[in-house]
Amino acid sequence: MTVPAGVDTDRKGVSAIWNDPQTRGIIYQALALILVVLVGWFLFSNTLQNLEERNISTGFGFLDRSAGFSISESLVDYEASDTYGRAFLVGLLNTFQVALLGIFLATILGTIVGILRLSTNWLVAKLASVYVEVLRNIPVLLQLFVWYGVITVSLPSPRQAFEPMPGVFLSNRGFMIPAPVEDPAYSYMGIAFAVAILLSITLRIWARRRQYLTGAQFPVFPCSVGMLIGLPILGWLIGGAPVVFELPVLQGFNFQGGITLSPEFAALLLGLTTYTSAFIAEIVRGGILGVDYGQTEAAASLGLRRVRILRFIILPQALRLIVPPTTSQYLNLTKNSSLAVAIGYPDLVSVGNTTLNQTGQAIEAVTIFMAVYLSFSLSISVFMNWYNSRIALVER
């Protein structure tokens, strides 16, 4: 059926614009943007009015004021008279401390459990899967409370502390371990370690170039390991080989000397490590199973030795499956470390929460939380995108 051209003319203009996908897209987007801006403006103006009524000053000026609360543990010097800004710094460093240690330990534990789940020993495999299922299906907050309860309620007082190894004490005041007495030799060791890392990288680049030109291989890995272990030992020997350790000693009601892991820190570290390790175990298992067994067989039929099969055939393929989800577990661990506020470990959120309650600077405190965690998350995801594009399968 044809419509006479003249009948439609007055509607045609509007409907033609409306039916053009490009114009329609622009209209939709403009509407969405206007809506977002309006809602944002509404919230913003309300906030300004509310703050004015409550006499709360906006801005980050409060960071220069004296905090007036003490923090139980800190990596840098801090006193109650220091500023809120410094308190936030202490919290930030505490967050990083527990997150880095947790990531390190969870990776090791998770890899072991993941491999154990593939064991041919029925009992071992079952035990590992019970470990994974139990830890995965219980909220991490509950696990933190359990660990904290175990340490503060069920462990004995310092007087009856467990001593599993000489110099190591477990009590309801936390864990005490011996600390090396300060000595210049340790800074030599640190420098030697840094030098070893640099040398290893240089060696690897040189060996690659040499292999590319001449085909001759160079044992980079054993050499690097040798340097990473040997050079710090050399530094230690040059420094006079100090062997003095400061042992924790019971004095009065608590231990003096040595390194003390507070109950809060120990509970947080234990909880985060075991919880995350269950997820990493599943990722590792999936990654290993994800590499087709034919790959192993093909490599074996080429005459490669077992270690080389693992190093050059299996691991590179398994890591492609393992690394991306593991990174997001690292991120989860870091974000979960904010649960410290529930058991009283002074991490960023915990310190920020105290600040928020004292000053009423809710918006600024939450903004700081978000900025810190976001910059962490975003830099990890930028790294991951780079890594993924580097190792992605090149398909034609």
Binding site: E53, V124, N137, I138, L339, N353, V366, L378
Partner: protein, 368 residues
């Protein structure tokens, strides 16, 4: 082949050696196949011997059963199940009035029944929507009351397991459609809408849930015009919905990305509008692919609702913690946390088993 032939033949077969079959064979194949496996087996059995008898003694033989004073418990080394006789009501229902606790119980049962029915693919019919339309108001009436002769219970007194189920149930119910829209927005070819969706998703996923709950509890009141307030529970619920929608959006995006572009092109060539294309062609397939990821998000969201304790709500976790603050019953944390952990575990474990079942069932079409 005659009968005698087969008999003849079967006589020549030898039974496998006794050590290869039956219990002994299984033990040898699974527990003692290499020297290090044998060593591991023995090590684990020794560990069981060290752990299991003391645990059974603690939990059963030395334990205090029945409704008794806490002083009785303090005299034994065993578990104090009297704690649960005393506090189970508080842990399960929070501050909900004692004589009215049958109401949240029934509400919870209705909720679980409807969810369980919805889980079975054979129930995915129009009548299921009807079931939800009846169930949701029924739950609301039971929880709030105020009509039909039920006394009014303000939501500040809700707590325990019903609160956990409601927070996660409502969070997912509202978070899911928002998440689908966000995922579609993120895949859209309109730059402004895409940027808005990406910003929202990354912003929420980049920060811990606690900061979102803090935002909900301390910043939302500042956002609203003077005089208008929304109560704490609703604020937490809004925060949880925001959180859930961002994570569900990423799960759905995975499904959308794995659809071949031919599906989009086919829908376009049929002349379908955008929403028809999504509703009839793309989303059914994309959602099916993303079911495992979605259920995983459900599980972690269910666990994460426990964080509302930090802004002072008495959900299952918060009520457990509150039960432990009673001076007379302080220190019985093992009993309390074991009880709560088992509840969380049962819910999460069944969800993860369900996702595996569903994955298998929905893959029937593609399985070889």
């Amino acid at each position: 082949m005659t009968m005698s032939d087969t008999q003849q033949e079967s006589k020549t077969y030898q039974r496998p050696p006794l050590a290869r079959i039956g219990a002994i064979g299984w033990l040898r194949a699974n527990l003692f196949n290499t020297w290090y496996n044998s060593l591991l087996t023995i090590l684990i059995l020794w560990m069981f011997y060290k752990i299991i008898p003391p645990f059974v003694n603690w939990a059963l033989f030395d334990a205090v059963w029945g409704k008794v004073e806490s002083t009785v418990c303090r005299q034994t080394d065993g578990a104090c199940w009297a704690f649960l006789y005393e506090k189970a009501n508080l842990i399960l229902f929070g501050l909900y009035p004692f004589e009215e606790q049958w109401r949240p119980t029934i509400a919870m049962l209705i909720f679980i029944a409807v969810v369980a029915t919805s889980c079975h693919p054979s129930a995915w019919r129009k009548s299921l929507i009807l079931a939800w339309v009846i169930a949701v108001p029924a739950i609301a009436i039971l929880m709030w009351g105020g009509i039909l002769g039920l006394s009014y219970v303000p939501n500040t007194r809700w707590g325990g397991l019903p609160l956990t189920l409601l927070l996660s149930g409502v969070g997912l119910m509202f978070g899911f459609p928002i998440g689908v829209l966000l995922a579609l927005g993120r895949r859209s070819n309109m730059p402004a809408i895409r940027t808005l969706c990406v910003t929202y998703i990354e912003l929420i996923r980049g920060v811990p849930l606690i900061t979102i709950l803090f935002m909900a509890s301390v910043m939302f009141p500042l956002f609203l015009p003077t005089g208008l307030t929304i109560d704490k529970l609703l604020r937490a619920q809004i925060g949880l919905i925001m959180f859930a929608s961002a994570y569900l959006a990423e799960a759905v995006r995975g499904g959308l990305q794995s659809l071949p572009s031919g599906q989009y092109e086919a829908a376009d060539s049929l002349g379908l509008s955008y929403w028809k294309k999504m509703r009839l062609i793309i989303l059914p397939q994309a959602l099916r692919i993303s079911i495992p990821a979605l259920v995983n998000s459900f599980i972690s969201f269910f666990k994460d609702t426990s964080l509302v304790i930090i802004i002072g709500l008495f959900d299952l976790m918060g009520a457990t913690k509150a039960a432990l603050t009673d001076a007379a019953w302080r220190g019985f944390y093992k009993e309390a946390y074991l009880f709560t952990a088992v509840i969380y575990f049962v819910f999460c474990f069944f969800m993860s088993k369900y996702s595996q079942y569903l994955e298998q069932r929905l893959n029937v079409g593609t399985r070889r």
